[in-house]
Amino acid sequence: MKIIAFYQTKFGELWEKSLTSLIKEAIFGVLKEANLEIDQVDAIFFSNMMAGVLENNLHTSSKISEIIGKNIPIFRVEAACASGGIAFHLATKYLSDNSKKTVLIVGAEKMTDYSPEETTLALAAAASGEEQEAGLTFPGLYALMANFYLQKYHYSEENLAYVSFKNHFHGSLNPKAHFQNKLTIEKILKSPYVAYPLKVLDSSPISDGAAALILTNDAYLIKKSKYSVSVLASEVATDTINLFQRQTFDEILATKIASELAFKKAKIERKHIKVAEVHDCFSIAEILAMEDLGFWKKGEGGKNIKELSTQIGGSDLTVNPSGGLKASGHPVGATGVKQIGEIFLQLTKQAGQRQVKNAKYGLAHNVGGSGGTVVVTILGS
């Protein structure tokens, strides 16, 4: 089972684009990349979180059928910010059950037509009823985790700032990124608070965008393709939706479970991973992810991030070369697909200025909500 193509629209405030036009661009973009016709696609997996809440638009699978003019199976997948990862996971399962098939995974989100208040409220639909009643939105939930982590391991907001610093540097190398500007630590630390200790520049933006992949187990197509990357593992784990039901605030258990399963399935060790896209919806999330994925020891992430060893050219594996959610942007339904696509680009040496050297294996880590759903995908060239 191999990924043979990836396409991503520009991420950002795309006022001239609708959800439908983004989906269309991504579908026909990835078909062109793969040199395929729509007739060669057997099924589509579509990931999106917010169209139902914001636009009163569900049943998008039928809309996609209208766009492509075909009557193939199309499945809409929703798992908050992990929608893309889950769509990809389900696509792999579809191919496991069907030989010589080709599927298209497309994730898209249209968020900037609405006020930040409307969008934040809609995103909060991924939190529990209790959390929503308490007035918590996702900045608040991740701020609780950040406060706990900083106090427990004696770090400061400066440690968190290095995540955004690194990811914006990477974003400056990515022409599809929402933000392509570099930041200084001083600027990050001086940005206004969203929910203490998290500031504007600790937080991923509200973005529009779409991303698409072609996944196939058709040996003929794989042989014919210019690029291909193997799917070594795609593992999903879930956890309580309520943060207060968790054992501790300084880990995301579902990440630990999914990554253990994924590494076991892929039959590789963590040291083999040279490039990873991890879910940095807030700066604290990348630090927790690096620890929970087993790349760093628990509690050492705050120290390690300051060394910038995960920046391109650093001594460690490169993390979030696309710019991550922070700089590349976070169109929710597209994010998980884009993460896997970035690893595909890295492993096929198509990543341009942000190319990581000598990467044979890569990992994508996609989180829904505050850790209620996690997908870990491992690819190998």
Binding site: E13, W15, E16
Partner: protein
Amino acid sequence: MVGIVSYGFYLPIWRITTKEIASVWGKNYLEIENSLLVQEKTVSSSDEDSLTMAYEASSLALKNFSEEKNKIKFVFFGSETPPYAVNPASTILAEFLGLKKDYLANDHQFACKAATGALIEGLGLIKGGVFDYGLVVASDKATAKPHDALEYTAASGAVALIIGKKNVALEILDFFSFSSDTPDFWRREGIRYPSHGGRFTGKPSYFYHIHQASTLLFEKTKLKPKDFNYAVFHMPNGKFPQEVAFGLGFEKKQIEKSLVVLHLGNSYTASALMGLVSVLEVAKKDDLIFFCSYGSGAGADAFVFKVTKSLDRVRLPFTLTAEKKKYIDYPTYLKFMGMI
């Protein structure tokens, strides 16, 4: 020659600072000042509205009007905040001014460019010989939802222009309008505060329309930014007019006299015209002034004005008037704006 024969303006005496508003919401006022380039704004009192301010500005314009006031045969009132949803303000204004009843009255609506659209229509009536003189007024008591970004800038003020053919102080050499369906800022009937599209009000809205109207007027007139002594743009904040001006090729020295938003805020329909009034305080004979308003929804009206020797006869002190001010706190602001 057709143009502005006389003009007037009105600024309420009351001011509220960005610092005062920011303190209510726990914001760092320096960050907001740096972001918006607005330090304080005008606030009209409980007994003032767009109509009373229009009357004040028009009365001042009439003082320097050398003709008999009943030669004014049309009264156009442009505002986003008229006192009535149905019932013209233009007729009330004309009555207040004591005009005979043989005038054409019209209320104009097009967000912040309601009055410049009216000016173009009035220009047609004068040029076509239908009337000799007319009055065009821009006036707003601009409201903003508490805690909205607009709260730091939405201000009050009025500008009145008497236009005609004789004794023109500011000749209108040419104009160009550019419009499209771009819903960046709106207020529906019965809704108290305007809504806006955040950053959408910038690039595809303000910047696009002003840039288009301006460049098309440059093409039409074969003039270039360097040919102008002054440039004036609509001022939703202090950053936008500078950015659009520099993007078009104007220099700081050409626009700084017009940037009244820093201390007066954005008086909506009167915003750009207030910048023009500031420029007229110092402009000299034969100076060319580039002017471009912007109205959400959206459109921009660009003009080329030329100063004549008659400006000296009608020139008004602006800086001194703007410096007459008293500061109020946030609760008083809410009371004055009728919000509590």
